[in-house]
Amino acid sequence: MLQLDHVTLAQGAFRLTADWSAKPGSRIAVMGPSGAGKSTLLSAIAGFLVPNSGRIRWQGEDLTDVPPGERPVTILFQDQNLFPHLTVAQNLGLGLRADLRLTPQDRSRVDEALARVGLQGMGPRRPAQLSGGQASRAALARALLRARPILLLDEPFAALGPALRAEMLKLVREVADETSALVLMVTHDPQDALALGGDLAFVSDGQVQSPVETRALLAHPPPDVQAYLG
């Protein structure tokens, strides 16, 4: 259970509160206007921001003092998900061992993960030699290797076209199924939220509302969601 217990994040006049919890394995789209605080929420769960008050817990354990890399979390950013000076295989290897001292088993796991996302044989390449979609696949392959129980997606596919984005969402669902991960995905697009399935947490007026089933919410949107959808 991911528990956001009276969490408050403040920065100058900006305030964001969240007070709800989510079961392991659930799929939650985080949607709302620009600047509402969607990325701020993910940053706090990933461990880059400390809440001003309240607690973030996973399976009852308080995460406040756990550094980002040791949290039960994998996060995909909008960009810069791969180190450009390392090969694709090394970038994936970092998900297994930070010192990159990989055993032969580790290496074959990297190859399997690459094959799983449709990048077989691309391990020796540098990220600059990949297309945008391939780079996203590589980042998802690393999430597969890390197999952390929470997967945070901070609009990593925003720069991709609609068809490619739909493909990536399918891959996200598969990766989440294979690792039984709880997915929190920031998006602007109701279609993406529907494609992810599961619930939708709407962010507005400094509050992350409790997740509600996406299909139902979009079918009968309350006024603030309706205003956002236009």
Binding site: Q11, L49, V50, P67, I75, F77, F83, Q90, L94, G95
Partner: protein, 514 residues
Amino acid sequence: MASRARPLNLTAPALAVLLLALVLAPLAAVGWRGAGISLGPADWSAVRFSVSQALLSAAFSTLLAIPVARALARRRFPGRAALITLMGAPFLLPAVVAVIGLLAIFGRSGVLNQALVAVGLPPISIYGLHGVVLAHVFLNLPLATRMILQGWLSIPAERIRLAQSLGFGPAETFRHLEWPMLREVLPGVALVILVICLTSFAVVITLGGGPSAATIELAIYQAVRFEFDLGRAAGLAGLQLMVGGVAALAAWILTRPAGFGAGLDRTLALPTPRGWRRGIDGVALTLSALFLALPLAAVLWRGLPGLSDLPASVLPAAGRSVLVALTSALIATSAALILALAAARRPRPIIEAAATLPLATSGLVLGTGLFLLIQPFAPPISLALPVTILVNVALSLPYLYRILLPETRALHSDYGRLADSLSLRGWSRLRWLVLPRLARPLGFGAGIAAALSMGDLGVIALFAGERQATLPLVVSQLTGAYRTEAAASAALILVTLSFALFWAFDAGGRRVAA
């Protein structure tokens, strides 16, 4: 919003404290010993000479650089890139080598005087105020040119386009585009050169001298080496600190780095007036190129024949110099990297202070302080090389820090979170993120530190005996003894080693980064 609480990392603050102590302890020793020492008329004359030669050097370097920079900014010709590169070289050129080159051209039996005598004119002397200023202009004209050229190239393309559409001639262009830029850039340029000339020692020890042409730095050296009057040396060091330190900190705060190595090119060219203005630009470029290239060519010309018959002191001194240069470059680069990485995460006053304070000092000021600290416990001569290494580390640290900080900041903002989310820490972070991403600036910075340290003549002159002499000291001694050919040969070896060290580090960094 608070950023994540991290386990407190004390490496960088501890290092900063250590570096501050390295500078502050000698300064305290100078203050303690020098307080209440009454200085005589000779000392005040040294202050006057220091300031006036620095003012003249700064004024001439800056004014002469204006036409050269303008010609480089608005003309395109074969060899332009090479000339701009040549302008970067004197920053790494050991001052003792420059002096030898200038002596070969302007000295007693130099090319110029031979020509003057041949046509029946009286010979000129290079020693004294004008010689010191000449050498300082030689060493700093290129720096001034590059800084002013940067100013010219930073005039926005939109404004040039506007000027062209309004039909501005050269006079209007100067009044509305060039003069406002110059008014902004020139004071900084002059201040930087003033600071460099205030702490110049290698030039003055050869071309200055005598009661009428001694700087404070030279007076410190004479007080320590010839008069054994440490109280007076400390008093003078205090004076130097006040005169040079204030100017140095002002220059550091007021100016941006000259950005050597940056691509000095742009797509929209400045208007290129024809007629006599074209002639002026040609003359400025030709004269400056000759002024810079001839003395260097003379070192080569005079030094080559003697290479087979070097004085016995040269090779061991070269070995010591390389050792000093490599050690201090390694320590200074590591220290600057640790400080810059920590400052990129979170700016801290103590780190800023440790990386800036050495600028206020000079090799001889720190040297005098360390001499005072060491003397009660050990003969200073026994620690000549370690002290030289430490002082070189302190003096090159501010430059390295300034080179590395923008790079560590970019690294932190681009990849800091990704690295944190993957638990990339300690050695793994260094090995897989920092070193590969920063190889280029690290190589460049280490190259600069090594070359500066290789060519530096300062603190070593206070401490060294026969068996501790570094190569610049040997060159300076040979020049002082009028052994012209041997000095030129040793200078040739010195300049080759300096540039080789710079090249090796810089190319190494580029290779790793590629």
